[in-house]
């Protein structure tokens, strides 16, 4: 077994995660975690849909921000995809997508304030970076032969319209629709920093222990996501896109002086602002590094590695739930429901809920990340096993699982896992806002202390860390010759 590189890499990551467990802060700190959890489930079981007058509006805003953000992101992402082969463009896109939507929202809040543009851009910018990358990959894979056959003198645009786009259209459409779902999740969590989407009310209800209200919001959100195939129709899309900007809410007018101030004063490191020169800057930077960046980086990495392996283990445990090779239709349907809930709950919301119930430590974060990401990978792998035909006399039960199925899906399982490595790290960093000591904690603290220069440095560090993990993840996938399509 050890001669397989995939097995060796898996064991290496497992060992790192186990070592991480020893240094990580894993604990349930509430006195009655199970009672709280029980109350939460009772809340979900007895939803109160009429608690907040703003609930429907919030739902509408969630959809509106999601649509406008994803539409703008996909438009600009497409333009960027056309020039994606240029190195500066690739670096630019890697950079904008390495910064999480919530961080973008926190940045824009400082100068656009509660203007709809804050929420729209917070989604559109990172999504444009992701769209650019994926669209360019899709375009690259299109058949080059038709364009070679065009008569010389055909304009580049006509050639693109006839010979490239139609070939990738279905893939582009499928991926964009998929991102729209992600966009609704992103839109919902923007409420946690004060935008008028679902997260706003969810946070309020939760922090006040009004679980029935929170349960109603979660149920509405699941219904919204689960019914997307019904209400998102290609023919209705133009109507939605035209209507969406009207439902973003009013917000407050933009004061452009604030924008200028943010870029020319707020984010300039304070020693430079105060004329302390380079000496002041280096001691300031040293202070940021030692007291905030390094502990933040350390905790982010530890939590990421533990959560990555937990995600992997959970995916391997979960995929039989929806695989046709195990259990009957009843078990598979309930498996589907479980995985749909796990993957359509944003990890931020899952982590928030678990933190409220279990108290602050890395444990709720690990469980939230593993549930959400494991739900996604488990679903993809489970679906893959349904395409496998076993011989009639194949063994059953655990032997079937371990001898027949896992070996066949292990490579694509690893591919998905390493693809999500960077995503898990981005989320890990952001969970700091909830009070776990990852980079997001220090970013949030800096913002709470109105020290945007520090916040900016820490966000840049977070982005570099994500880019680093992305590169490493791709390197490992290439080394092991693993291929995958993007997930979000």
């Amino acid at each position: 077994m050890l001669s397989y590189p995939t097995v060796r890499v898996s064991l290496l990551f497992l060992a790192i995660a186990v070592a991480g467990l020893f240094v990580a802060d894993i604990a349930i700190t509430t006195a009655n975690p199970w009672r709280d959890l029980g109350q939460f489930f009772i809340g979900v079981a007895t939803p109160n849909f009429f608690s907040t007058e703003g609930l429907l509006t919030a739902l509408l805003r969630t959809v509106a921000f999601g649509f406008v953000g994803v539409a703008l992101g996909s438009f600009f992402g497409f333009l960027l995809a056309l020039v994606y082969r240029l190195l500066p463009v690739r670096i630019f896109c890697a950079f904008i997508r390495a910064i999480h939507e919530l961080f973008w929202a926190l940045i824009f809040l400082q100068f656009f304030g509660f203007h709809p543009l804050t929420g729209v851009l917070a989604i559109a910018i990172p999504y444009a970076g992701i769209f650019a990358k994926v669209y360019s990959e899709i375009l690259e894979e299109s058949d080059p032969e038709p364009s070679r056959l065009l008569p010389p003198g055909t304009s580049a645009i006509a050639s693109f319209l006839y010979a490239r786009i139609p070939d990738c259209w279905v893939q582009i459409r499928t991926y964009t629709a998929y991102r729209l779902e992600c966009g609704l999740r992103s839109s919902a969590i923007l409420g946690f920093v004060g935008l008028p989407t679902l997260g706003f009310y969810l946070e309020s209800s939760f922090s006040q222990g009004m679980y029935s209200d929170a349960g109603a919001m979660l149920i509405l959100f699941y219904v919204l996501i689960a019914t997307m195939p019904i209400w998102v129709r290609p023919k209705l899309l133009p109507a939605y896109l035209l209507a969406a900007p009207f439902f973003l809410g009013e917000g407050f007018p933009i004061v452009w002086g604030n924008v200028e101030r943010f870029f020319t004063e707020d984010i300039v490191p304070s020693p430079l602002r105060n004329g302390e020169g380079l000496a002041g800057l280096s001691s300031w930077l040293g202070d940021v590094m030692i007291t905030e960046a390094l502990p933040g980086i350390w905790n982010t990495i530890v939590l990421t590695q533990v959560a990555l392996v937990a995600t992997g283990l959970l995916s391997l445990l979960a995929f039989p739930l929806i695989s046709k090779h195990f259990g009957g239709p009843v078990r598979r349907t309930s498996g589907h429901v479980f995985l749909v809930i796990a993957r359509s709950t944003p990890e931020y919301i899952l982590a928030y809920i678990l933190l409220q119930l279990w108290g602050p430590s890395m444990l709720p974060a690990v469980v939230a990340l593993a549930l959400h990401n494991g739900g996604i990978i488990g679903h993809l792998i489970g679906r893959q096993t349904n395409a496998i035909e076993l011989r009639p006399d194949a063994p059953t039960g655990f032997t079937r699982y371990s001898w027949e199925l896992v070996p066949r899906v292990y490579r694509s399982f690893l591919a998905f896992l390493f693809y999500r490595w960077e995503i898990i790290m981005r989320e890990t960093a952001i969970l700091g806002i909830l009070g776990i000591y990852t980079l997001g904690f220090y970013v949030d603290s800096a913002i709470q202390n109105i020290q945007f220069d520090r916040a900016m440095i820490l966000i840049l560090i977070t982005a570099s860390l994500n880019i680093g993990v992305d590169v490493l993840g791709r390197f490992i996938r290439r080394k092991l010759a693993l291929q995958t399509m993007p997930t979000c």
């Binding site: 802060d25 700190t29 509430t30 006195a31 009655n32 709280d36 809040l109 400082q110 100068f111 304030g113 509660f114 203007h115 709809p116 946690f192 920093v193 004060g194 706003f200 946070e203 309020s204 922090s207 006040q208 222990g209 133009p238 896109l241 035209l242 900007p245 009207f246 973003l248 009013e250 917000g251 407050f252 007018p253 004061v255 604030n258 304070s270 105060n274 108290g359 602050p360 430590s361 009070g435 949030d444 603290s445 913002i447 709470q448 202390n449 109105i450 020290q451």
Partner: protein, 289 residues
């Protein structure tokens, strides 16, 4: 067909922008730091909005925010013109907006104080100074930007133990607000916490505290706290003498139900200088530059 769609799209975009601009051009907007349960805040400040609107004869709107920093930013960005700040957030906001001033404070805000509270399992009892026994326990502040939830407790912890809170306690958290601190210590999630005495007393009066589970272990010395702060440029926008009218309206506020919702006995004049002690403590702790 395509150009028509683009035109429609652009028009719709401009419309939303236009709507957004006109809606609040002449509305006097205020906010408040989210130091307690949001439902309570919304209820309380909607009442204030109605009262001010009547007194000032302009549209007055309250917007709830999710963090202390968001309240400060909205004030700084002139998206709100008036805010109910804590001691620290007021100092931060006024430093960022030249010309802004503290208008009025609650009677009780001249000498505000904090309670350190502990869960029954710690066995800690009320004392004249912060008990040595808190060492090694878990501890929660309120919000990171809070005066009574963060600044003052941290000052006293450092003063008492000569160490950072992270080394005194085995775990340090930020609950988010005072109500939440109370709930977390009451349920035993944290052993010890520090909160605004007003929140404690109001919850106690309303019968929302199980005093078997949680008790006060120390009361801090007094410090200046909450105040109404207004931007310096409101007169230009809402007419000469507007600032004074706002101050007068606040000082005149005598609706018992509204005052009870804060809860304050009434409002008295305040000045920026009243908050110098807060500024110097914050600067000592490195929270402000």
């Amino acid at each position: 067909m395509i150009t028509k769609q683009i035109r429609k799209w652009l028009v719709s975009g401009f419309l939303t922008l236009a709507v957004a601009t006109t809606a609040s051009a002449q509305t006097f907007v205020f906010t408040a730091i989210p130091d307690e349960d949001e439902t309570k805040l919304v209820e309380r400040f909607r009442g204030i909005a109605d009262y001010l609107s009547e007194q000032l004869e302009v549209d007055v709107r309250y917007i709830p925010v999710k963090s202390y920093a968001a309240a400060i930013s909205a004030f700084r960005n002139n998206q709100v013109q008036l805010a109910w700040f804590g001691g620290l957030s007021g100092v931060q906001a006024r430093a960022l907006v030249p010309g802004s001033e503290a208008l009025a404070q609650g009677v009780e805000d001249q000498a505000f104080y904090n309670y350190f509270i502990a869960h029954k399992s710690t066995g800690l009892e009320r004392a004249d100074e912060l008990p040595e026994g808190v060492r090694g326990k878990t501890f929660t502040f309120g919000s990171k930007g809070s005066t009574s939830g963060r600044l003052i407790p941290e000052y006293h912890i450092r003063d008492r133990f000569n160490e950072a809170p992270e080394t005194v306690f085995s775990r340090v958290g930020f609950s988010g607000n005072h109500t939440r601190t109370l709930r977390l210590v009451e349920s035993g999630t944290y052993d010890v916490g520090a909160l605004n005495y007003k929140v404690w007393e109001k919850e106690l009066e309303d019968g929302n505290i199980n005093t078997d589970d949680v008790k006060i272990i120390w009361k801090t010395p007094g410090f200046p706290n909450y105040q109404w702060t207004i931007r310096g440029d409101v007169d230009e926008r809402f007419g000469e003498g507007f600032k004074d009218r706002v101050r007068q309206a606040l000082l005149d506020l005598d609706d018992p139900a509204l005052l009870e919702s804060f809860p304050r006995e009434g409002f008295i004049p305040a000045s920026n200088d009243d908050y110098e002690p807060i500024r110097s403590v914050a600067s000592e702790l490195g929270i402000i530059d």
